[in-house]
C-alpha cells in the first residue's frame, strides 16, 4: 500500500506506513510495518536500522548497531568507523568488541586507527596503523611500533642468466638486456623520478661455474639512468675474477 503524507493538513493515510506520534523527544522516526527503520535525533544525527545511536560529537550517520559515518565539528574531519564513536572528549565503543576507524582529515591526511576489544561505552585507545599524508607519503606500522614512512621497492626482477636467459618474475621491469657474459641491464617500465635510487642485487650460481665468491656490481661503463640500470656479475677465485652468468640474478630498486 502506498503511503502518502499530506503536507497541507498533516493527515497520513495508510495503516502500516509512516507514522506520526507527538512527543517531546525531538526525534523523528520513520517506521515501516510498525517498526522504526530510520531515526533522526534532536542533534541531527541519523540512524538507519537502529534507534539507539551513539553519543556523537558532530553530525553522523549510524547504520545498524556499529557502523558509522560522521564529521566532527572540532576538526572538520570525516570518519568511517566500526564500533567507535567520539563523544567530544573520548572515543568509546558502541558495543562490546574491537573497533576501527578510518579518518580523512580536512588537511588531507588519511589514517586508519585500531582499538583493541573493549566493552560497550568504555573509553577506547586508538592506535594508528596506516597513514597517507597530503604529500603522498604512505606510512605504516606493521610491528615497527608507530607509523613511519614506507619506502617502496620501485622495480625488481628475478632471472636466469644461464643458457637461454629467461625472466622468472618481475615488477616495473619491461625487459632485461643481455649485453654479454654476466653483463645485464634492467629496463624500467616506468622511469624513476631520478637516478639517485638504491640498487640491491644478489646472485647465486648453481651451474657449472665454481667461484669462491660471487659479486654483483655496477660497472662504470654501464647505464645508470632514470630508465635503466646496468651491472656486472663477477666470480672470484683467489686473485682472479671473471664475469659469469649466474643461475639466479635478483635485483631490486628502492627509491
Amino acid at each position: 500500500m502506498t503511503t502518502t503524507i499530506n503536507a497541507d493538513d498533516g493527515v497520513i493515510s495508510g495503516s502500516a506506513g509512516l507514522k506520526s506520534t507527538p512527543d517531546s523527544s525531538g526525534e523523528l522516526a520513520l517506521q515501516t510495518n510498525g517498526v522504526t527503520k530510520v531515526t533522526v535525533t534532536a542533534a541531527g544525527n541519523v540512524g538507519i536500522g537502529t534507534s539507539s545511536l551513539a553519543a556523537w560529537q558532530g553530525t553522523g550517520l549510524q547504520i545498524s548497531d556499529r557502523s558509522a559515518l560522521f564529521q566532527l565539528t572540532i576538526n572538520n574531519a570525516t570518519y568511517l568507523a566500526n564500533n567507535l564513536a567520539y563523544d567530544g572528549t573520548n572515543w568509546r565503543y558502541i558495543v562490546t568488541g574491537a573497533g576501527l576507524v578510518y579518518s580523512v582529515g580536512a588537511s588531507g591526511i588519511a589514517s586508519v586507527f585500531r582499538a583493541a576489544s573493549g566493552t560497550a561505552g568504555a573509553i577506547a585507545t586508538l592506535v594508528e596503523s596506516t597513514r597517507a599524508d597530503a604529500s603522498g607519503n604512505f606510512y605504516f606500522d606493521s610491528g615497527y611500533g608507530s607509523v613511519a614512512t614506507a619506502y617502496g621497492c620501485r622495480a625488481w626482477v628475478n632471472f636466469n642468466g644461464t643458457g637461454t636467459v629467461a625472466i622468472r618474475a618481475s615488477g616495473n621491469v619491461s625487459s632485461i638486456t643481455d649485453n654479454g657474459t654476466g653483463n645485464y641491464t634492467v629496463n624500467f617500465t616506468t622511469a624513476m623520478p631520478d637516478a639517485n635510487y638504491a640498487f640491491v642485487g644478489t646472485i647465486s650460481n648453481t651451474g657449472s661455474a665454481s667461484y669462491n665468491t660471487a659479486a654483483i656490481s655496477a660497472n662504470g661503463t654501464l647505464t645508470r639512468t632514470t630508465s635503466a640500470y646496468g651491472f656486472t656479475c663477477t666470480g672470484i677465485t683467489g686473485t682472479t675474477n671473471a664475469a659469469f652468468d649466474p643461475n639466479f640474478v635478483n635485483v631490486s630498486i628502492f627509491r
Binding site: 632471472f159 619491461s174 625487459s175 632485461i176 641491464t185 629496463n187 617500465t189 632514470t226 630508465s227
Partner: protein, 96 residues
C-alpha cells in the same frame, strides 16, 4: 616467446628479454628499451643460442630491421613516466 636483438657499438649483439608482467607489447618494449635510433629485430627465442660459451663473439645480421629505438629509448634525453590506456608511452624530457 620472442626476443629483441640489436647491434652494440662494440660490434656485438645485445638481446632484450621482455617481461610478461609489464603488460606491454614486444613492439612497445623494443621502441623503449632499444637505444634511440638503433635498428632492432624481433626474433624467436629459439634463434638465440643457448650455449653462451662464446657469448662475446656473437654477431647478428640486422639488414631487415623491424624498427629502430624511439626517441625515448635508452640513451635519449627522454624517459617514459607512464603509459596511456592505448599502450602509448607518456614521455617526458629528463631533467636531472
Amino acid at each position: 616467446m620472442k626476443r629483441i636483438i640489436y647491434p652494440t657499438p662494440e660490434g656485438g649483439v645485445a638481446i632484450l628479454i621482455p617481461t610478461v608482467e609489464c603488460g606491454l607489447t614486444i613492439e612497445a618494449i623494443a621502441l623503449k628499451d632499444v637505444p634511440a635510433g638503433v635498428p632492432f629485430q624481433i626474433v624467436d627465442v629459439t634463434d638465440i643460442p643457448s650455449d653462451r660459451t662464446f657469448r662475446a663473439a656473437w654477431e647478428a645480421d640486422i639488414t631487415n630491421p623491424d624498427g629502430t629505438g624511439a626517441n625515448y629509448g635508452a640513451g635519449s634525453s627522454n624517459e617514459v613516466i607512464g603509459w596511456n590506456e592505448d599502450g602509448s608511452p607518456i614521455v617526458k624530457e629528463v631533467t636531472e
